[in-house]
Structure formats: structure tokens, C-alpha cells
Symmetry: C2
Subunit: 259 residues, 2 copies
DNA sequence: CTATTTTAAGTTGTATACAAATGGTACTTT
DNA sequence: AAAGTACCATTTGTATACAACTTAAAATAG
């Protein structure tokens, strides 16, 4: 009578010690993260339709759990579900994008104030890995690698937010706006973008090493401001900023005058 | 061949000019708001189970759209869906509650900075109505009336937030935390609570009349701080603050020392 | 009588058939 | 030829039957 399922869901047999079968909730969460990543990496670009039946076939489930995931993505502003048409990946206009970025900048500063988290050696190691990856991006224009780096960097920064509600909101806002930056990447100077990323990561690392959480979020805030400015300038046909050399943190006061 | 549905969904007949049949999305939204209000008014108190079949029967739909609504409420943190058990209205622990209130306080200040909105005569009229309702709450301990007033006041303040993302977040956080305040209302001094509400509304109205949005959010922030302090003190058995007289805005510096 | 197992009732999760809506295409009419 | 109309393929929305899960009570073994 061994090897029989017990009340708590574990098994007696030592052959499969703690491998619990994937629960329904876990599966939906896995599908959710998969689709969200595809949206963030532009595998599903803005305005593309993704279709419930297609996804149901790919993940070997019915439309029901797929619908659940897509509705979640809808509530989070990543897709738009149109009856009779399909599920369309949202495209963001400049005004909304500016609102999201302004909010992210403010929330980034907040995250250092509301229940801050201690910076550990693991965080620093993770960030060093990010710096290495940034350095390796020079030259080849690997948009996917850049996007993956941005996502992973975001994940590390999220783990430094102590307030859970703020963490969820920051995560939401990131995925809501990040892919728009990627869409206009092909039109910008690749080496400059990568250099920016490298500098930011490097300066963030320096702040982490002196246990300066407030300094970290300042670096992040400046990075967000820089991206927003580049986007605005590019969309308005004014490439003056994007043609400048990469900006170092020490010059940030020149760029940060409010409005 | 008149009175036939046209491509754009309108009708030729003048008898029913622009009364479009309620669309699926509209119906789900209506059910969503209904259930959310019930949760906020403690008609569905924390830890109560609400059940999909029951709701489906009440709204004369199948479980499918009900599930859609409940999952939305789940993503927003208002309910917890447990397989085989039911949909349980979430209860919030003190730590989470403090995190939410701290965040709301910061976001309230932000809302005056990020794309502020002009205060109109309509806003002032709405707020005057709130003040009247607050005054009428004295004496009778009308918890439902108080809760409705809080919800309506929240709605007015939301309409003064220009940034749409910030507006959605503020709305979410309000409904996530407001009902917890209501649950402990029966144990507090009713007349004092009402007097607080009246004072806050009155001072907010004064700020609105001098077109001082920043002053408004300061009043609101103070109110949130006041509520949070009362909750903390009550839960720790220390009723020293709740036994004080109502606090006027002018005394707020005594209460606002950080931490 | 106690501890364990079985059973049963009730709930959410999934699959599927069908209804409703959209957008394009071919056809008809003027 | 141009405008309108009916049709149709495709997609999301809904209803419903069934599967999986949880809980508690009842039955059973010690």
C-alpha cells in the first residue's frame, strides 16, 4: 500500500520524493509567463493577433485555461480582446508611454524608501553577470539578447523591493512599457544603446557595492529618464539626443531639469 | 425592412434611437462592479465564501462570465480562489495593510505632480455633497452610509488624477484596503470617526476652493496616515490615539514625523 | 472508545458544443 | 462602375457536462 497518494499530496515512495505533479494554477502561471515573455521580446509584436485556439493547441490544453491567461494579460494592459477578431497585442501611444515612464521613475525612488531590502552578495553576483552580458552585446546587434538582459535586470531590481504591492505594480508597469522601447531599437544607434546599458549596470553595481540603495534607484531613475527622452525625441523626428555620446551619471544634472 | 440591425449595430427605427443592447463586456463589467462594491461594503465580509454557482444564479448567467469576473477580482487581490473550496474574500494582515497604506500615501502625493487636473465647479459641488452627507452621519452609527460615502469620496478624488495608470493603481489599492478599515469600525468611537471625516472633507473643500491641488492631496495623505495609525494602535491594544479628540489639519505636524 | 479509512457532498478546473460578433468577399442592384 | 447587400469563414463569448480537488462526516478496524 505504499506509493499511494497521501492527504498532503506527497508520496510515500522514495523514488519520486518531492516531485509534485504540476497543479492547475502552476500550469496557468507557466503559460502566463511564457506568453508575457513572448510579448516582451516582440515574438508577438504590437498589433499582432495571437488567437486562443492556436495557443490551446500549442500548450495541449483547451481554450478555457488559455482564456484565463489572456484575460489576465488584458487586465494588465498587455493585450486587447476583441470579440470576433482575436486577441491583439496592445500598442502604446506616446502619451500613455510617457505617463507610464513618469510613474515608473517616481515608483523607483519610492522603492528605496518603503521597506527597503538589504543588498546581499547574491544580488551583486547577479548584477556582475548582467554587466558581463552587457559587455558582450557590443557589435552584433543582438536585439533578443538585449531584451533578455533587460528582463533579467528588471527581475533583480524587483527582488530589491520590499513592499509587495509596490513590487507587483512595478512589475506590471515594466512589462507594460518595456517592449515599446524595443520596437524602436532598430532605428537607433546600437553601440550607443549597449554602451548606455553597460554604463548604467556598472554604476548600479558600484552603488550596490557601497550598500547604497538610494544611489541605485537614482541610477535606475536616470536610465528611465534617458530612455523616455530618446523615445520622445525619436518620435518627434528630433534625433539630437540620440546622436549624442552616451551619458554618464555624472552629467545627469544637465538632463534632469523637471519639464 | 426598417428596424433591422445595421452593420454598425445601430437601428433604423426612431423608436429605439441609441439604446444599444448591453454587450457582453458591459455585462461582465456591471457584475464586476456589483461584486466589488459588495466586498467593499462588507456585504461579503472577509473570509466569507461567495461561490460561482450562487452568483451565476443571481445574475442569470452561466458560471463562465462569473468566473471571468472572479478571476479579475483575484488578480486585484480582493478574493482568493481555492480549488474544491470556493472563492474566499481576502483578509489582510497588518503588515500588508501597512504596506498598502504607505503606498497609497505616497501615490496620493504623486497624483498632484503627474499630469494634474484642473479643479472644476463640478468637483466642488460633488465635494459639498460629501460634506453634507458626512454631517448627517452623526449619532446613528450608519456603517453602510459611511462606507458609501468613503467610496463616493474616493471616486471624486480619482477623477482628479490625470495619469491614467496612476488612476488605475490608486483605484485598485483603495478597494484592496478600504474594507479592512470598515471591519474594525464597530470597535471605535463612532462620533469621532464621523467628525474626522467631516473635518477632512471640509478642509479638502477649502483647498479645492483656492485651487490648491497640492494642498488637497496633503489633506488626503494626512487622513490616510490617521486611519493607519488608528488601525495599528487598535490592533496592538493601544487605544491612546483613538481616544483623543479628532485631529485638525493644523495639528498634523505633530503626527507626521516619519516612523 | 480511538484512530484510520471510506464515502459522499459540494466546489472549482477543464473540455467542448454552440451562440454571437466581426470583417472580408462575392454578388446583386441601381 | 459604384454602392449596397447578403453571405461566409474566423474568432471570441457562453452554457453545460464532466473531471479533479477539498472537506467533513460516516463507516470500519484496532
Amino acid at each position: 500500500m505504499s506509493n499511494i497518494k497521501k492527504i498532503d499530496g506527497t508520496y510515500d515512495s522514495a523514488a519520486e520524493p518531492q516531485v509534485r505533479r504540476e497543479t492547475s494554477k502552476d500550469r496557468r502561471n507557466r503559460i502566463y509567463k511564457t506568453i508575457r515573455e513572448r510579448i516582451s521580446l516582440l515574438i508577438y509584436p504590437p498589433n499582432s493577433v495571437i488567437g486562443e485556439t492556436e495557443l490551446a493547441g500549442e500548450f495541449n490544453v483547451s481554450r478555457t485555461p488559455i482564456r484565463s491567461v489572456l484575460q489576465r494579460l488584458h487586465f494588465e494592459g498587455l493585450v486587447q480582446i476583441r470579440t470576433g477578431v482575436g486577441t491583439v497585442v496592445t500598442d502604446v501611444d506616446l502619451k500613455t508611454m510617457k505617463e507610464v515612464y513618469d510613474l515608473r521613475m517616481s515608483l523607483t525612488e519610492l522603492s528605496a524608501e518603503l521597506s527597503p531590502i538589504e543588498i546581499t552578495e547574491e544580488h551583486i553576483l547577479a548584477m556582475e553577470s548582467m554587466l558581463e552580458r552587457a559587455k558582450n552585446l557590443h557589435g552584433r546587434r543582438d536585439s533578443m539578447g538585449y531584451a533578455l538582459l533587460c528582463n533579467d535586470l528588471h527581475e533583480v531590481l524587483m527582488s530589491l523591493i520590499g513592499s509587495k504591492p509596490l513590487q507587483e505594480i512595478s512589475d506590471n508597469l515594466y512589462y507594460r512599457s518595456a517592449r515599446i522601447w524595443l520596437t524602436m531599437l532598430p532605428n537607433l544607434d546600437w553601440d550607443q544603446i549597449v554602451t548606455d546599458q553597460e554604463l548604467e549596470t556598472s554604476e548600479m553595481l558600484a552603488a550596490m557595492r557601497r550598500n547604497d540603495l538610494r544611489g541605485m534607484v537614482q541610477v535606475r531613475r536616470f536610465y528611465l529618464h534617458c530612455v523616455l527622452t530618446r523615445i520622445s525625441d525619436y518620435l518627434q523626428g528630433n534625433n539630437s539626443l540620440s546622436s549624442r555620446d552616451s551619458l554618464k551619471m555624472s552629467e545627469r544634472r544637465m538632463q534632469r531639469g523637471r519639464d
